[in-house]
């Protein structure tokens, strides 16, 4: 259903990283065991925990970059 591509959709360059805001945003998307997190990550249905962590970092990085437009 979902497949992971090892690339970003848009090129990404962070000028001013804002980890505080990123932290707030990721809390709204659900914690480690939250079901919403799986669907929001567009991940495969069965992921090993380490890979899931890897993929979630990808998502956080994307979020951090959206923050510079806010």
């Amino acid at each position: 259903m979902w497949s992971y591509e090892k690339k970003l959709q848009y090129p990404v360059h962070i000028k001013n990283p804002d980890p505080a805001a990123a932290k707030i945003i990721i809390t709204q998307l659900g914690g480690l065991n939250c079901k919403n997190r799986y669907t929001s990550l567009k991940s495969r249905t069965q992921l090993r925990p380490t890979l899931l962590l890897l993929y979630s970092m990808h998502f956080i990085q994307l979020l951090k970059n959206f923050l510079q437009f806010l």
Binding site: Y4, V12, I14, H58, Q61
Partner: protein, 84 residues
């Protein structure tokens, strides 16, 4: 940009073009210009992906060609190495 970034940029470029014109075609299925553009970009995407994967390894789970080890897990991953 180094070579890896350049080739990745090409992949991303054509991938976004294909994706975007695909969305347009979802609502305009008979638009010949868009369809033509889609096929052009699709071809360029396949070429860019092939060239990138040949040099730097798989982009998806289904494209691992290494017979000796599962190089899918090799870095760098997309969120790494951005702030150099």
């Amino acid at each position: 940009m180094n070579e890896r970034e350049k080739m990745m940029h090409h992949v991303c470029m054509h991938s976004l073009a294909v994706f975007d014109v695909g969305l347009f075609l979802d609502s305009h299925p008979h638009n010949q210009k868009a369809l033509q553009y889609y096929h052009e970009q699709q071809k360029m995407l396949q070429e860019a992906v092939r060239a990138y994967q040949e040099k730097f390894g798989p982009l998806t789970h289904n494209d691992v060609t290494n017979q000796k080890m599962w190089n899918w897990i090799d870095g760098p991953w997309p969120w790494e190495g951005e702030n150099e």
